[in-house]
Protein backbone atom coordinates (compact mmCIF):
# COMPACT_ATOMS: atom_id res chain seq x y z
CA UNK A 1 0.00 0.00 0.00
CA UNK A 2 1.22 3.45 -0.85
CA UNK A 3 1.86 5.33 2.41
CA UNK A 4 0.67 8.85 3.15
CA UNK A 5 4.27 10.08 3.12
CA UNK A 6 4.65 8.78 -0.43
CA UNK A 7 1.40 10.46 -1.50
CA UNK A 8 2.67 13.78 -0.12
CA UNK A 9 5.96 13.25 -1.86
CA UNK A 10 4.23 12.62 -5.18
CA UNK A 11 2.03 15.68 -4.76
CA UNK A 12 5.11 17.80 -4.05
CA UNK A 13 7.06 16.45 -7.02
CA UNK A 14 4.15 16.76 -9.45
CA UNK A 15 3.45 20.32 -8.32
CA UNK A 16 7.10 21.14 -8.69
CA UNK A 17 7.32 19.57 -12.14
CA UNK A 18 4.31 21.63 -13.23
CA UNK A 19 2.74 21.49 -16.66
CA UNK A 20 4.58 20.84 -19.88
CA UNK A 21 4.12 23.75 -22.26
CA UNK A 22 3.49 23.62 -26.01
CA UNK A 23 5.94 25.24 -28.42
CA UNK A 24 5.99 29.07 -28.55
CA UNK A 25 3.26 30.65 -30.64
CA UNK A 26 0.80 27.83 -30.00
CA UNK A 27 -2.08 30.13 -29.05
CA UNK A 28 -1.45 32.32 -32.12
CA UNK A 29 -1.62 29.24 -34.36
CA UNK A 30 -4.90 28.17 -32.75
CA UNK A 31 -6.40 31.63 -33.20
CA UNK A 32 -5.16 31.85 -36.80
CA UNK A 33 -6.89 28.54 -37.58
CA UNK A 34 -10.11 29.72 -35.95
CA UNK A 35 -9.97 33.03 -37.84
CA UNK A 36 -9.36 31.21 -41.13
CA UNK A 37 -12.37 28.97 -40.50
CA UNK A 38 -14.52 31.95 -39.55
CA UNK A 39 -13.50 33.77 -42.75
CA UNK A 40 -14.36 30.70 -44.83
CA UNK A 41 -17.76 30.46 -43.17
CA UNK A 42 -18.56 34.13 -43.76
CA UNK A 43 -18.02 33.87 -47.54
CA UNK A 44 -21.59 32.63 -48.09
CA UNK A 45 -24.15 33.26 -45.42
CA UNK A 46 -27.66 33.03 -46.85
CA UNK A 47 -30.08 35.36 -45.12
CA UNK A 48 -32.82 32.76 -45.52
CA UNK A 49 -32.76 29.19 -44.25
CA UNK A 50 -31.68 26.35 -46.60
CA UNK A 51 -35.30 25.16 -46.69
CA UNK A 52 -36.52 28.55 -47.86
CA UNK A 53 -33.75 28.67 -50.49
CA UNK A 54 -34.88 25.24 -51.77
CA UNK A 55 -38.53 26.29 -51.80
CA UNK A 56 -37.76 29.51 -53.67
CA UNK A 57 -35.55 27.74 -56.23
CA UNK A 58 -38.13 24.98 -56.75
CA UNK A 59 -40.92 27.56 -57.12
CA UNK A 60 -38.98 29.62 -59.68
CA UNK A 61 -38.01 26.44 -61.56
CA UNK A 62 -41.64 25.26 -61.62
CA UNK A 63 -42.74 28.66 -62.93
CA UNK A 64 -40.24 28.69 -65.80
CA UNK A 65 -40.81 25.04 -66.69
CA UNK A 66 -44.55 25.79 -66.76
CA UNK A 67 -44.02 28.73 -69.11
CA UNK A 68 -41.76 26.65 -71.38
CA UNK A 69 -44.15 23.73 -71.54
CA UNK A 70 -47.48 25.46 -71.77
CA UNK A 71 -46.65 28.45 -73.94
CA UNK A 72 -48.82 28.41 -77.05
CA UNK A 73 -47.03 27.34 -80.20
CA UNK A 74 -46.89 30.34 -82.55
CA UNK A 75 -46.46 28.08 -85.64
CA UNK A 76 -49.48 25.92 -84.85
CA UNK A 77 -52.52 26.51 -87.09
CA UNK A 78 -55.30 28.44 -85.42
CA UNK A 79 -58.03 26.29 -83.94
CA UNK A 80 -55.72 23.30 -84.00
CA UNK A 81 -55.59 20.99 -81.01
CA UNK A 82 -52.57 19.69 -79.23
CA UNK A 83 -53.06 16.34 -80.94
CA UNK A 84 -52.27 18.03 -84.27
CA UNK A 85 -48.77 18.78 -83.04
CA UNK A 86 -46.02 16.20 -82.78
CA UNK A 87 -45.89 14.78 -79.27
CA UNK A 88 -42.79 14.83 -77.11
CA UNK A 89 -42.37 11.09 -77.72
CA UNK A 90 -42.43 11.58 -81.49
CA UNK A 91 -40.04 14.47 -81.21
CA UNK A 92 -37.64 12.37 -79.14
CA UNK A 93 -37.89 9.47 -81.59
CA UNK A 94 -37.14 11.75 -84.52
CA UNK A 95 -34.20 13.32 -82.78
CA UNK A 96 -32.81 9.91 -81.77
CA UNK A 97 -33.03 8.71 -85.35
CA UNK A 98 -31.37 11.90 -86.62
CA UNK A 99 -28.65 11.63 -84.02
CA UNK A 100 -27.86 7.98 -84.87
CA UNK A 101 -27.48 8.96 -88.55
CA UNK A 102 -25.25 11.85 -87.63
CA UNK A 103 -23.04 9.63 -85.48
CA UNK A 104 -22.35 7.53 -88.56
CA UNK A 105 -21.40 10.63 -90.51
CA UNK A 106 -19.45 12.24 -87.73
CA UNK A 107 -20.17 14.19 -84.58
CA UNK A 108 -22.24 17.32 -84.99
CA UNK A 109 -24.84 19.14 -82.89
CA UNK A 110 -28.45 18.52 -83.92
CA UNK A 111 -30.17 21.59 -85.32
CA UNK A 112 -32.79 22.91 -82.91
CA UNK A 113 -36.11 23.47 -84.64
CA UNK A 114 -38.49 25.66 -82.62
CA UNK A 115 -41.50 24.43 -84.58
CA UNK A 116 -41.00 21.01 -82.97
CA UNK A 117 -41.43 22.43 -79.46
CA UNK A 118 -45.13 21.87 -78.91
CA UNK A 119 -44.88 19.36 -76.06
CA UNK A 120 -47.46 16.99 -74.77
CA UNK A 121 -49.16 18.77 -71.83
CA UNK A 122 -49.12 15.52 -69.84
CA UNK A 123 -45.33 15.66 -69.79
CA UNK A 124 -45.54 19.20 -68.44
CA UNK A 125 -48.00 18.19 -65.73
CA UNK A 126 -45.67 15.37 -64.72
CA UNK A 127 -42.73 17.80 -64.40
CA UNK A 128 -44.73 20.26 -62.32
CA UNK A 129 -45.94 17.38 -60.13
CA UNK A 130 -42.29 16.32 -59.67
CA UNK A 131 -41.31 19.87 -58.69
CA UNK A 132 -44.16 20.01 -56.15
CA UNK A 133 -43.15 16.59 -54.79
CA UNK A 134 -39.55 17.79 -54.31
CA UNK A 135 -40.85 20.86 -52.43
CA UNK A 136 -42.96 18.63 -50.21
CA UNK A 137 -40.00 16.28 -49.67
CA UNK A 138 -37.73 19.18 -48.68
CA UNK A 139 -40.35 20.34 -46.21
CA UNK A 140 -40.72 16.83 -44.71
CA UNK A 141 -36.92 16.49 -44.37
CA UNK A 142 -36.70 19.77 -42.54
CA UNK A 143 -39.46 18.66 -40.18
CA UNK A 144 -37.65 15.36 -39.48
CA UNK A 145 -34.35 17.16 -38.84
CA UNK A 146 -35.93 19.55 -36.37
CA UNK A 147 -37.23 16.65 -34.21
Amino acid sequence: MVMKREKDLLKKWLDEAGREAPSPGFSSRVMATIQAQEAKRSVFKPAVSPLRVKLAVAGIAAFFIGILLFAPDGNAPEGGTSSDNPTMLNWLQNRTADASQQILEGISWPVFASSDMAFNPLFGYALVALALASIFNAFLNSQLRSH
Binding site: L10, L14, D15, R19, F26, V30, M31, I34, Q37
Partner: protein, 191 residues
Protein backbone atom coordinates in the same frame (compact mmCIF):
# COMPACT_ATOMS: atom_id res chain seq x y z
CA UNK B 1 -8.77 31.99 -13.10
CA UNK B 2 -11.88 33.00 -11.21
CA UNK B 3 -15.08 31.52 -12.52
CA UNK B 4 -16.84 34.89 -13.12
CA UNK B 5 -14.04 36.14 -15.34
CA UNK B 6 -14.12 32.81 -17.17
CA UNK B 7 -17.88 33.08 -17.76
CA UNK B 8 -17.51 36.70 -18.91
CA UNK B 9 -14.91 35.67 -21.50
CA UNK B 10 -17.18 32.88 -22.76
CA UNK B 11 -20.12 35.28 -23.08
CA UNK B 12 -17.95 37.79 -24.94
CA UNK B 13 -16.81 35.02 -27.30
CA UNK B 14 -20.41 34.01 -27.92
CA UNK B 15 -21.20 37.64 -28.70
CA UNK B 16 -18.55 37.52 -31.46
CA UNK B 17 -15.41 38.74 -29.68
CA UNK B 18 -12.71 36.37 -30.92
CA UNK B 19 -10.09 38.07 -28.75
CA UNK B 20 -11.96 36.86 -25.65
CA UNK B 21 -11.54 33.28 -26.82
CA UNK B 22 -7.86 34.05 -27.49
CA UNK B 23 -7.56 34.95 -23.81
CA UNK B 24 -9.07 31.58 -22.85
CA UNK B 25 -6.66 29.78 -25.20
CA UNK B 26 -3.66 31.57 -23.66
CA UNK B 27 -4.88 30.76 -20.16
CA UNK B 28 -5.45 27.08 -20.83
CA UNK B 29 -2.91 26.14 -23.52
CA UNK B 30 -0.48 24.54 -21.03
CA UNK B 31 -3.39 22.90 -19.32
CA UNK B 32 -4.68 21.25 -22.52
CA UNK B 33 -1.26 20.38 -23.90
CA UNK B 34 -0.08 18.83 -20.64
CA UNK B 35 -3.03 16.43 -20.41
CA UNK B 36 -2.77 15.51 -24.06
CA UNK B 37 0.96 14.91 -23.64
CA UNK B 38 0.30 12.47 -20.79
CA UNK B 39 -1.94 10.41 -23.08
CA UNK B 40 -0.35 10.64 -26.52
CA UNK B 41 3.24 10.77 -25.18
CA UNK B 42 4.34 12.68 -28.25
CA UNK B 43 4.85 16.47 -28.47
CA UNK B 44 3.65 16.90 -32.07
CA UNK B 45 0.59 14.73 -31.51
CA UNK B 46 -0.17 16.49 -28.24
CA UNK B 47 -0.03 19.93 -29.92
CA UNK B 48 -2.33 18.76 -32.71
CA UNK B 49 -4.77 17.27 -30.22
CA UNK B 50 -4.74 20.41 -28.06
CA UNK B 51 -5.33 22.57 -31.14
CA UNK B 52 -8.21 20.36 -32.32
CA UNK B 53 -9.66 20.46 -28.81
CA UNK B 54 -9.63 24.28 -28.77
CA UNK B 55 -11.29 24.36 -32.21
CA UNK B 56 -13.93 21.94 -31.02
CA UNK B 57 -14.44 23.95 -27.83
CA UNK B 58 -14.87 27.13 -29.88
CA UNK B 59 -17.41 25.52 -32.19
CA UNK B 60 -19.45 23.98 -29.39
CA UNK B 61 -19.14 26.86 -26.94
CA UNK B 62 -22.90 27.43 -27.18
CA UNK B 63 -23.43 24.04 -25.53
CA UNK B 64 -21.39 25.12 -22.47
CA UNK B 65 -23.65 25.28 -19.44
CA UNK B 66 -22.69 28.03 -17.07
CA UNK B 67 -22.71 25.65 -14.11
CA UNK B 68 -19.22 24.23 -13.80
CA UNK B 69 -15.63 25.17 -14.54
CA UNK B 70 -14.60 25.91 -18.12
CA UNK B 71 -11.37 24.03 -17.41
CA UNK B 72 -13.26 20.83 -16.58
CA UNK B 73 -15.37 21.19 -19.75
CA UNK B 74 -12.24 21.80 -21.85
CA UNK B 75 -10.45 18.90 -20.18
CA UNK B 76 -13.28 16.57 -21.19
CA UNK B 77 -12.79 17.57 -24.83
CA UNK B 78 -9.00 17.25 -24.61
CA UNK B 79 -9.21 13.85 -22.91
CA UNK B 80 -11.65 12.46 -25.51
CA UNK B 81 -9.66 13.88 -28.42
CA UNK B 82 -6.46 12.37 -27.03
CA UNK B 83 -8.02 8.95 -26.46
CA UNK B 84 -9.57 9.00 -29.95
CA UNK B 85 -6.17 9.90 -31.45
CA UNK B 86 -4.48 7.17 -29.44
CA UNK B 87 -6.97 4.55 -30.66
CA UNK B 88 -6.56 5.66 -34.27
CA UNK B 89 -2.82 5.07 -34.11
CA UNK B 90 -1.44 1.69 -35.04
CA UNK B 91 -0.76 -0.33 -31.91
CA UNK B 92 2.86 0.27 -31.01
CA UNK B 93 4.92 -1.13 -28.19
CA UNK B 94 4.40 1.22 -25.27
CA UNK B 95 7.12 1.48 -22.73
CA UNK B 96 4.76 1.43 -19.76
CA UNK B 97 5.62 -0.39 -16.57
CA UNK B 98 3.80 -2.32 -13.86
CA UNK B 99 5.25 -3.07 -10.46
CA UNK B 100 4.13 -5.47 -7.73
CA UNK B 101 1.81 -3.96 -5.14
CA UNK B 102 4.05 -4.74 -2.19
CA UNK B 103 7.32 -3.39 -3.63
CA UNK B 104 8.61 -0.88 -1.06
CA UNK B 105 9.73 2.62 -1.95
CA UNK B 106 13.24 3.05 -0.61
CA UNK B 107 14.02 6.07 1.51
CA UNK B 108 17.53 6.22 0.00
CA UNK B 109 15.90 6.86 -3.32
CA UNK B 110 13.74 9.64 -1.87
CA UNK B 111 16.85 11.28 -0.41
CA UNK B 112 18.65 10.94 -3.72
CA UNK B 113 15.81 12.64 -5.60
CA UNK B 114 15.59 15.40 -3.01
CA UNK B 115 19.27 16.13 -3.52
CA UNK B 116 18.70 16.78 -7.24
CA UNK B 117 18.24 20.32 -8.50
CA UNK B 118 14.65 21.35 -9.03
CA UNK B 119 15.02 21.30 -12.82
CA UNK B 120 16.53 17.81 -12.82
CA UNK B 121 13.80 16.57 -10.50
CA UNK B 122 11.09 18.03 -12.75
CA UNK B 123 12.67 16.45 -15.79
CA UNK B 124 12.83 13.10 -13.98
CA UNK B 125 9.14 13.30 -13.00
CA UNK B 126 8.01 14.22 -16.53
CA UNK B 127 10.01 11.32 -17.95
CA UNK B 128 8.60 8.95 -15.36
CA UNK B 129 5.03 10.13 -16.13
CA UNK B 130 5.77 9.45 -19.78
CA UNK B 131 6.41 5.80 -18.94
CA UNK B 132 3.06 5.32 -17.21
CA UNK B 133 -0.09 4.05 -18.93
CA UNK B 134 -2.11 6.96 -20.44
CA UNK B 135 -5.02 6.45 -18.01
CA UNK B 136 -2.74 6.40 -14.96
CA UNK B 137 -0.70 9.42 -16.08
CA UNK B 138 -3.81 11.46 -16.85
CA UNK B 139 -5.58 10.55 -13.60
CA UNK B 140 -2.46 11.42 -11.56
CA UNK B 141 -2.10 14.74 -13.39
CA UNK B 142 -5.75 15.66 -12.91
CA UNK B 143 -5.76 14.67 -9.24
CA UNK B 144 -2.43 16.03 -8.00
CA UNK B 145 -1.55 18.80 -10.41
CA UNK B 146 -4.97 20.18 -11.33
CA UNK B 147 -6.39 19.31 -7.92
CA UNK B 148 -9.61 17.91 -9.30
CA UNK B 149 -11.94 15.79 -7.24
CA UNK B 150 -12.61 12.12 -7.99
CA UNK B 151 -16.10 13.11 -9.17
CA UNK B 152 -14.69 15.70 -11.59
CA UNK B 153 -12.18 13.18 -12.91
CA UNK B 154 -14.99 10.67 -13.37
CA UNK B 155 -16.90 13.26 -15.46
CA UNK B 156 -13.87 14.17 -17.55
CA UNK B 157 -12.65 10.66 -18.28
CA UNK B 158 -15.97 8.83 -18.30
CA UNK B 159 -14.55 6.27 -15.84
CA UNK B 160 -16.48 5.36 -12.70
CA UNK B 161 -15.24 6.82 -9.41
CA UNK B 162 -14.04 3.38 -8.30
CA UNK B 163 -12.15 2.98 -11.57
CA UNK B 164 -10.56 6.39 -11.07
CA UNK B 165 -9.44 5.27 -7.59
CA UNK B 166 -7.90 2.11 -9.03
CA UNK B 167 -5.97 4.07 -11.68
CA UNK B 168 -4.88 6.57 -9.06
CA UNK B 169 -3.57 3.84 -6.79
CA UNK B 170 -1.75 2.01 -9.59
CA UNK B 171 -0.45 5.25 -11.02
CA UNK B 172 1.06 6.33 -7.69
CA UNK B 173 2.66 2.95 -7.10
CA UNK B 174 4.04 2.65 -10.64
CA UNK B 175 5.31 6.23 -10.76
CA UNK B 176 7.22 5.85 -7.50
CA UNK B 177 8.86 2.67 -8.71
CA UNK B 178 9.71 4.09 -12.12
CA UNK B 179 11.37 7.02 -10.34
CA UNK B 180 13.21 4.56 -8.14
CA UNK B 181 14.41 2.53 -11.12
CA UNK B 182 15.49 5.64 -12.97
CA UNK B 183 17.49 7.03 -10.07
CA UNK B 184 19.37 3.75 -9.72
CA UNK B 185 20.53 4.05 -13.31
CA UNK B 186 23.41 6.40 -14.17
CA UNK B 187 22.18 10.00 -14.30
CA UNK B 188 23.02 10.51 -17.98
CA UNK B 189 20.55 7.77 -18.92
CA UNK B 190 17.52 9.84 -18.01
CA UNK B 191 18.69 13.45 -17.96
Amino acid sequence: MEIDKEYALIKETLAGDLEAFGELVRRYEDFAFNLSMKITKNREEAEEVAQDAFLKAYKSLRSFRFEGKFSAWLYTIVYRESITRLRRQKPVHTNTEEFPDNAPFESDCENGIERLTRNDRSSLIHKALGRLKPEEASVLTLFYLEEMTLKEIDEITGMSVSNVKVHLHRGRKNLLHIVQTMTKAPLNEWL
